[in-house]
Symmetry: C4
Subunit: 223 residues, 4 copies
């Protein structure tokens, strides 16, 4: 175990082992709890097949959220590979970030209910807007994480420079903007279009999960 002492006055630095273990536990539970939304449908005898098909929207919401949490985990994986230690401040930002992860099953089940059952068009707009707002709010702690690392470069792992960290801030900013646009589309135009916009956004996070880099300056940040 590396002991990375700090000078008195600077925040105390500790290992990231427990931060990683706790975060992985939270991600694992959230991604698994999503399936609880999938219930055996009430059905008349002999009508199970029909009832299962009627739940198609709930399956889609499940897959959407599974993909979302999976992408978040990959992004978190990359995030923690930037650092070699943590502080109380960074632990708080990580907790804030996990709050966003933990809350996902709630807008997911609102979404699934609005699209599956007797949801009206208005309820669907509400559900898409709620999902978009939660997703946008979840981007804030990621921005705070990068900002904190810029101010405390001593936490950066060897081989990671501040310029790389600065570039990453574009991701949560784009996230916030586009989730809000997706929510607005869902609210003012059509809930289905809003849902597609959210799906596009998750895809954006998926392809940038290893960080935004410039063409040839692809640094070696292996772990």
């Amino acid at each position: 175990m590396p002991e990375s002492g700090t000078t008195s006055g600077a925040p105390r630095v500790s290992e990231i082992g427990r931060m990683t273990g706790f975060s992985d536990g939270v991600f694992a539970i959230v991604i698994t709890l999503l399936v609880i939304e999938l219930q055996v449908p009430d059905h008349a005898p002999g009508e199970l097949l029909h009832a299962l098909f009627e739940q198609a929207a709930a399956y889609l919401a499940f897959l959407l959220s599974f993909g979302y949490v999976g992408v978040l985990w990959l992004n978190h994986h990359t995030l923690l590979r930037l650092i070699c230690g943590t502080t109380l401040g960074l632990n708080w930002i990580n907790l804030w970030l996990l709050l966003g992860v933990v809350i996902i099953p709630f807008p997911t089940s609102v979404l699934a209910e609005a699209f599956a059952h007797a949801g009206t068009d208005r309820d669907r707009r509400v559900a898409v807007l709620l999902y978009a707002l939660v997703a946008a709010a979840m981007s804030a702690p990621w921005l705070a994480f990068f900002a904190y690392l810029r101010r405390h470069p001593m936490l950066l792992r060897e081989g990671i420079d501040r310029a790389f960290v600065s570039r990453q801030r574009i991701r949560p900013v784009v996230g916030m903007a586009l989730y809000l646009i997706g929510g607005a589309l869902g609210w003012f135009v059509s809930p289905v279009i809003g849902l597609v916009g959210i799906g596009v956004m998750i895809f954006f996070h998926a392809v940038t999960s290893e960080g935004v880099r410039r063409g040839r300056s692809r640094r070696r940040t292996t772990t």
Copy 2:
């Protein structure tokens, strides 16, 4: 922590620590959530014993799925012993694989409900078919995992050769074929026969969980 750098252009390799921790978390939660299906049965005063016996099908479904997830964990255990590092691509395949694990409680509870309560013969066929289809679909990411390792032998742990990895592909292929046959038997012939077929298939995965090997070429792949 070993730093296994890669040449620029090749996928970045990172440690498998978090992949392992996250996967173990997911397996632990899924195998524990199965028990939630076991509810105290509604019963008239004094009729608890009778009501408990009437749930026999739910207990069997619980044991079947516990054994299934346990076998999957043993197989996953063996799988990760093949590699010494992971990449973004392999993380995606692992997430896909975990999707299959996470989803198990849903077809399990459909199965339990169809066999326990007022399920008709038709509903039971549907439930067996659903279970078989999910189990067959779960085999695909395992095939993808082995295929990925064949194309990226640098991820293989010392002492594991590509020929061994190639041989393992037979397992998910047999899995897919036999689960589909089990589902077809359940649908066209008899739900109980289909269920037996699925049980046989899980047993096959159990006995091959350390990998398929040839008689005497038993390599030492200790970890």
Copy 3:
């Protein structure tokens, strides 16, 4: 990571890291899920306090099972400190052992329901008997674990001798016997006496959680 190779033919030995992580995950989830049984009671407006008191039996069942799972974790902690590696066979026994842990919330909620609500005396006898039978059945894999270690002393950590392992077999045997007696008392004599007997048994496991040893031969098995 130590590589402990084995000669061809002997079972392959692997590290206990994942076995430990997976087991800890299962224990953590089970001990946490117990609280789900504690529900906000239905109550008339202003009658919350009264309704909370009426749930006293559910609180006791919760505490009993929390203590039980805690004791099991401590015992498991001591168990894994005996070994320095695992095999496929030992993984199977560990899964069997975890099956017993995972199932605890079910007899617990049966017990809570029988003692809390409109349970008759007969239902309470059934609930105590069920709890005792499950607890007795849970002792079997512990016996199998010790028996396996006796046959494979190479898995024992340095400083642990076979005689110590042999002595431990007394614990699951006593467990099985006394749980069955507790169940019989609950069934034939009085459910409350049976419950007390189970509590005594859990206490016995608590005080012997570090293993049964002879007076002065207290070996140093620090980890």
Copy 4:
């Protein structure tokens, strides 16, 4: 793995790896389970937005408890950084401490129900009192933890002195006193004032999560 042997007669010391992993698992699950309280509200078609707003109290209870468990995790993080080994006695105290963590969702949902739905003023007083009593009772094992460390200084990590440990005892004592005052305020004066008092208390634990220290003697206790 460091082997820290003890002289015969003294309690056997073992590593804190499993204690940490198990505790992190429990914290991760509790903080994630809190979201289960957030249910899609029953609502007339088209009234989803209105119904979501009516659940405001449940969202507040969720955030309060998320912050609480988060603060507890940070405190536990700091706690385990004091020690370099554990004993059976300390494992028991840690289990007792986790009992307090695990139980949080129950008073939280009582609180949410009393403030959200048709709760009367009297029910709200009961709910605030219950929350305060549980929170006060949770402080006891923290005090026991510090007391145990004072009696077994060999468990302290290098660089941590007994005086520092002694000073920490003030925190659970203040916690117990103030939670009880908060509960009394909620019971005798106003449930809302009691709730504010509890919030203040959680804030106190948050700002002291790295331990109470004297002005300039700020020791370097990096890990």
